[in-house]
Amino acid sequence: MSLVFAGVCSHAPGITGRAERADPQARDALYAAFDRMRQAIDDAKPDAIMIVSAEHFANFFMNNMPAYAIGMADYYEGPIEDEDWLKIKRRRIPGNADLSRRLISHVMNDIDVAYAEEWKFDHGIMVPLNFLTPRYDIDVIPANINCQGPPLTPLHRAYEFGRAIRRACDQMPERIALIGAGGISHWPATPNSGKINENWDREFLDRFIRNSRDEMISYSDAETYRDGGQGGFEIRTFLTVSGATEGAKGEVWYYQPIPIFAVGCTIAVMNIP
């Protein structure tokens, strides 16, 4: 079939782990936006959800760091974090090795992606799944972009990764939903955790919903680090969704800085033509 849904969301661990410390109104509105996205995914009737995230040294380390990786297993496990810390129960998550293998084979025409037959999900994938597939009843295809350990893949390649994913999805009989999961500006796991550059975020989101490739790939890593913090490198996950929905426009369903969650919490979707 093809790509039947595409969107982006935040994945910060505080969203679940420190839920009780947030402003209740902002938190509940975020949760409602996640639920709206869950419903939209459900309405699209996908056979699988591909989630492109930026993991945090849960599986991929600096001894052998892929720029891009896609999971290729029939099941995964997560969260890797302490259950009480993240407030998400550890469990097995269904995958689809056959679909993964076919997707990866197509993506490899354009991107030298690594594959992983074993993958422990961290908050980068588990927080979105907690809201978007709360019954864990749909196959998940995890993908990772290295946003932690430089040198990082250039932004234009993250966009190309999305285009390659789209071409691959278009060849599959299955219906696939694509989620990019990451932050815009944020300084997580530093004493500045909770600092958010709202103006920078809103400018980025404006470029994102217009799917303005050239404007989105124009940020240098030095500019992103200065204006968006080290967490800002995760815009690569958004760019992959942009590449997968080239020509489409989007909508921001929720954006609100929630400092105790350490990120400008975001839910946005692209309207696939």
């Binding site: 040294f57 300084w187 997580p188 530093t190």
Partner: protein, 106 residues
């Protein structure tokens, strides 16, 4: 500095409950397996999350090591802020502080 091996240890600790148990029972035996300086060994043994932060340990690795060592969220942020006052800013990596940690949620 052998920051890479400090981080490799934390990477492996975060993934492996059996190694966590071993570390809790005899951290010295676990640390022997890694190429560490005496300063790094001490910071890991105490543990001194603030000093590890200043050394440049990746924040995502350190965040979970702190939780594993019993730091709650506010204690973890405070340990880093206190270390900034004592040692100055982070020596390496991407997780340096801005303005002494100002503007955060804690």
């Amino acid at each position: 500095m052998s920051l890479y091996y400090v981080q490799k240890l934390l990477f492996q600790l975060n993934r492996d409950p059996a190694l966590q148990k071993q570390f809790q029972e005899d951290s010295g035996a676990v640390l022997q397996e890694y190429d560490l300086t005496e300063e790094e060994r001490l910071a890991l043994t105490k543990p001194d999350v603030g000093e590890l932060y200043i050394m440049g340990v990746n924040g995502q690795l350190l965040m979970h090591f702190a939780a594993f060592q019993g730091y709650n969220w506010d204690q973890y942020i405070k340990a880093m802020k206190d270390a900034l006052i004592v040692h100055g800013n982070v020596k390496s990596g991407l997780y340096a502080s801005l303005d002494g940690g100002a503007g955060g949620a804690v």
